[in-house]
């Protein structure tokens, strides 16, 4: 079957077997390997991506179901050279150990902050319920996301879902990685 998706702002078209999982399409066809596989039952969240702005476990979706959809993976967040605030916060708060859960965690965090710009700790922990981390014990990840929500404040709100008309990366002033608008272009809007 031929499918056509918007992947990090680029259009990707490909013939796929009907049984091909979206995560395998992303990893093996589009060669974007930042999206990981940590289980085969939809429990771990390592494969989390944004589909139409919602956090989705890409191992629970077939590639054909993504036809015509807008998908953002971890590789699509930092377009333009500057890190997304959530990415920066993960570094600053030691939210990464082995890093295998990290892309999925960050995508879940982006989806959360798009709907709740200033979440409570409980809301953060609740939003991560579908994401397993075996290394950190979660605390520094939770701290990173809470920190990211403060980095966003006052700069156009948290980054919205990519198809939202005014989505911004929300880099703070003076951020050396600030990338004057190219980030949005990268998402093809």
């Amino acid at each position: 079957m031929r499918i056509r998706v918007r992947l990090n702002g680029r259009t990707v078209e490909h013939d796929v077997e009907p049984r091909l999982l979206l995560v395998h399409f992303i990893r093996q066809v589009a060669r974007l390997t930042g999206t990981h596989v940590g289980c085969d039952t939809g429990n771990c969240g390592a494969c989390t991506v944004l589909v139409e702005g919602k956090a989705v476990k890409s191992c629970l979706m077939l590639a054909v179901q993504a036809d015509g959809k807008d998908i953002v993976t971890i590789e699509g967040l930092a377009n333009g050279g500057g890190l997304h605030p959530v990415q920066r916060a993960f570094i600053e708060k030691f939210g990464v150990q082995c890093g295998y859960c990290t892309p999925g965690m960050i995508m879940s965090a982006c989806a959360l902050l798009a709907s709740i710009p200033s979440p409570s700790e409980f809301e953060v922990r609740e939003a991560l319920e579908g994401n397993l981390c075996m290394c950190t014990g979660y605390e520094q990840i939770v701290d990173a996301i809470l920190h990211a929500s403060t980095l966003d404040r006052g700069h156009g709100g948290p980054r919205r879902a990519p198809q939202a008309p005014h989505g911004r990366l929300g880099h703070g002033p003076g951020d050396p990685g600030r990338a004057s608008g190219t980030t949005e272009a990268g998402h093809g809007r």
């Binding site: 390997t33 930042g34 990981h36 940590g38 590789e75 890093g99 950190t136």
Partner: protein, 807 residues
């Protein structure tokens, strides 16, 4: 900035003090947060894919294998049965066990656990390989399985390895001090039988291997997420019958290890054979189901223990009899029993110990050294006995511990078995933890809430977290030490442009080694960490690794940094010699500053690292004859505290951190669910090199313990089928079910590690188990419940409340 100009003392490690001890952000993370990390399966390489046919039976004879359909399946390049594999390999070499048994890396003629690989299939894609694997027909004649420890020990039990004549592959007993006398003279003996569950720290990335074979040279290249390349090199070459240099190991980013990736090597052997057979590079990415089913687990244990006490609460002696279910893998069988006795006396001055152990094999999955290796179980047992004793003597759990702690003035303290605790202040650690927790207040609150029908309990546990294994220990019963001590290597060099490069023998699986190494080297050479380059990927072709090399047993902070420090010293000394020559002064009058070496007191008389490198390489002709060209230094390091283990004195591990956990647990007596509203950790980590990393290790490790204490268990049916084979029923802690942690500060530098550090990676997983169990038992005191087993599941808790009285 490296702007502190300090003369070099002849034995000084650091010349600046800017980076070591600071929470320097991890250099590994910029790639990771952008999805640019490279794990094995991310390697962009044309490979075929491997799928395994695994045994559906726990115990069966293989009567026929028909691979014809599979071979004719689309895209199939090779099919290998266990017999094919056995014909090309040597059997797996056992380490700890004394019984003589034969096992290959794939099942031959008989399967010993459900999930054991029987046939391997190689095809063009993963989907095609799985299709073909489904077309392999295997006939089995089921044999009666032995699943639980008691069954395996029963008279006439079916044998997992017939040639051994028993299911006990190792049995031994040790006694240190006058145990019988202590028990005779005791005023009180507390005795209990405990059960530790079979669980795993389940790294999020399962095992992954790519193997490539070069027909021209007969050499292999292996990409894997193995965490112990030194031993793997030995095991693979011995099993595959090729010299060590014929297999090159590359370990890219690894998605967590926790010991579970110490047993990847049998599959490396299989992948190498498949690559050679298929004539194409092959890739195997273990699925989570395969991971949970077939490899690997912590063995469950049945532990009888008794503690002898004087009336005043002093501990006189401890006696332990432990039986471990090591499943069915002879390489790791017998590793657990001895190491746990590194902590048999815990933080206490117990002067007589006796222990006996049996390594039992069954038709369960293989086991491997999971985070803490036996010490979580031993500490669970000891700290449970301490609470039972406190209750029997009507003493406060904090007070009975205080009365028995090894005292700071006794340090360094040698335990009856020869373990040397180098430093620490255990009473102070407890004091800080109780204060941070608000212990008395929680006790009052517990009593008050009980009136309202809410059941809270306060649990205390004190634990030792040893680091750096003295690897001779597990050969003690065999009497033939193969490995001894713990050696690690490092290369530190200056490149042609003066940049500093480090290559280590150990691997990284999330510990941030490159960050820490860069901090250490920066302060040794008065440069910035960014000027130190270190790959997070391991390559045996360039790494100065040793047979012990790898990341396990908390050895990085000790022996790996020891090697880095030693190599950096050599490099620094050589750079000083070259600088002295160039500047025409004596080395003693030189100092380092911001990437230069200058004459002390006159920074204008300076030579940069870049110029020194130019002299060392490009312009070596200008150097005096006695200075050898080049600027790359290799050093090997071992912890000198290690002694050759003997039965009378076997120092199992070489550094000893300690911790106190104080936990408040609330049990919902209607549902049996346990929550942890308060969790305090005071972990004496010696000297911290990077507090951000240390904190993450301590908390992450503690959460592994929470999982084992409350949720996780590999349960098997009576016929040996794994019942908890996915993350839907093998439950892991999630962000919502773990508490926020209060961490106290405690730093008693270790006198025997090169930088004063102690272990931090396993202690949480050790001390948390009894802390939580003690808290739950305290909460359920009105119901008279005793906690003797883990995990404390809602079901077990409800049964206990409703009359069973025992969890």
């Amino acid at each position: 900035m490296g702007d502190s100009t300090r003369p070099l003392e002849s034995d000084g490690v650091f010349v600046t003090s800017q980076w070591v001890g600071a929470a320097v952000p991890r250099r590994e993370d910029a790639r990771t947060v952008q999805g640019q990390a490279r794990y094995v399966d991310d390697i962009d390489m044309d490979t075929a894919h491997v799928a395994f046919v695994r045994s559906p039976h726990a115990h069966a004879r293989i009567t026929a294998i028909d691979t014809r359909d599979a071979e004719a399946s689309p895209g199939v390049l090779a099919v290998m049965t266990g017999r094919d594999v056995a014909a090309a390999t040597n059997p797996v070499a056992p380490r700890g066990i004394t019984a003589s048994v034969t096992q290959y890396v794939m099942a031959v003629d008989k399967v010993r656990y459900a999930g054991e690989p029987v046939v391997a299939v190689v095809a063009g894609t993963q989907y095609l390989a799985e299709d073909a694997a489904a077309r392999v027909h295997v006939d089995y004649e089921p044999l009666p399985p032995v699943v639980e420890i008691e069954e395996a020990l029963a008279e006439g039990a079916p044998l997992v390895f017939e040639e051994a004549g028993t299911n006990v592959l190792l049995h031994d007993a040790f006694e240190h001090g006058d145990v019988a006398g202590a028990f005779r003279g005791a005023d009180l003996v507390v005795k209990e039988t405990f059960r530790m569950p079979r669980f795993s720290s389940t790294p999020l990335e399962p095992w992954a291997i790519i193997a490539q074979w070069d027909p021209g040279t007969g050499a292999f290249v292996v990409w894997s997420n193995d965490q112990q390349p030194g031993r793997t090199a030995i095991n693979v070459s011995r099993t595959l019958r090729v010299p060590i240099d014929k297999v090159r190991y590359i370990i890219p980013d690894s998605g967590g290890g926790f010991g579970i990736k110490l047993a990847v090597w049998p599959y490396i052997v299989i992948l190498c054979l498949l690559a050679r057979r298929a004539g194409k590079a092959v890739r195997w990415i273990q699925t989570r189901s395969e991971h949970l089913l077939a490899g690997t687990h912590t063995p469950e244990a049945l532990i009888e223990a008794e503690l002898a006490l004087a009336r005043d609460g002093r501990f006189l002696a401890i006696r332990v009899n432990s039986k471990e279910n090591d499943g069915s893998f002879v390489h790791t069988a017998g590793i657990y029993p001895l190491i746990k006795f590194a902590v048999i006396v815990g933080c206490y001055g117990i002067r007589a110990t006796a222990f006996e152990f049996s390594t039992v094999v069954t038709n369960k999955a293989p086991t491997v050294q999971n985070r803490g290796v036996g010490k979580p179980g031993m500490t669970f047992v000891l700290e449970r006995l301490v609470d039972l004793a406190a209750r029997a003597l009507d003493l406060d759990p904090a007070e009975i511990r205080r009365r028995n702690f090894v005292r700071p003035e006794q340090m360094p303290y040698t335990t009856p078995t020869g373990e040397v605790y180098e430093s620490g202040d255990y009473p102070e650690c407890l004091r800080r933890a109780l204060e941070l927790a608000g212990y008395d207040e929680w006790c009052r609150k517990r009593d008050a809430l009980r009136e309202e029908g809410r059941y809270l309990g306060v649990g205390i546990a004190a634990g030792i977290e040893p680091g750096t294994s003295n690897l001779g220990y597990y050969y003690i019963s065999r009497g033939r030490p193969d490995f001894l001590g713990s050696v690690e290597g490092a290369m530190v060099g200056a490149d042609f442009d003066g940049g500093i490069t480090v290559v280590t023998g150990s691997v990284d699986a999330g510990q941030g080694h490159a960050t820490t190494v860069a901090q250490v080297v920066a302060d040794m050479l008065a440069i910035r960490p960014e000027q130190v380059s270190m790959s997070t990927h391991f390559d045996s072709a360039t790494s100065p690794f040793a047979p012990h090399s790898g990341t396990y047993a908390n050895r990085f902070n000790d022996v790996e940094l020891g090697a880095v420090v030693a190599a950096t010293r050599k490099l620094r000394a050589k750079m000083l010699r070259i600088a002295a020559f160039v500047l025409g002064v004596h080395e003693r009058s030189l100092a380092l500053r911001a990437g230069t070496i200058h004459v002390e007191g006159d920074p204008t008389k300076a030579v940069s690292f870049q110029e020194i490198a130019a002299y060392a390489y490009k312009k070596a002709l200008l150097l005096p004859e006695e200075i050898e060209p080049g600027l790359r230094e290799i050093a090997y390091y071992q912890n000198r505290a290690a002694k050759v283990p003997r039965r009378e004195e076997f120092n199992i591990q070489l550094t000893h951190a300690n911790a106190v956990h104080v936990v408040v647990a609330e049990v919902d007596v209607a549902t049996g669910f346990v929550t942890l509203p308060k969790y305090v950790i005071v972990h004496d980590w010696g000297r911290q090199l990077n507090p951000g990393i240390v904190k993450g290790m301590v908390i992450g490790s503690t959460v592994h313990g929470i999982g084992a204490a409350l949720y996780e268990e590999f349960l098997y049916s009576p016929d040996g089928q794994l019942l908890t084979g996915t993350f839907m029923d093998y439950l892991k802690p999630v962000a919502l079910t773990v508490p926020r942690f209060d961490l106290g500060e405690m730093e008693s530098p270790c006198p025997t590690s090169p930088l004063g550090t102690k272990a931090v990676g396993e202690g949480g997983a050790i001390t948390s188990l009894p802390a939580i169990a003690n808290a739950v038992e305290d909460a359920l005191r009105p119901f008279g419940v005793t906690v003797t087993s883990l995990p404390i599941t809602p079901e077990k808790t409800l049964r206990a409340i409703r009359g069973a009285r025992v969890i």
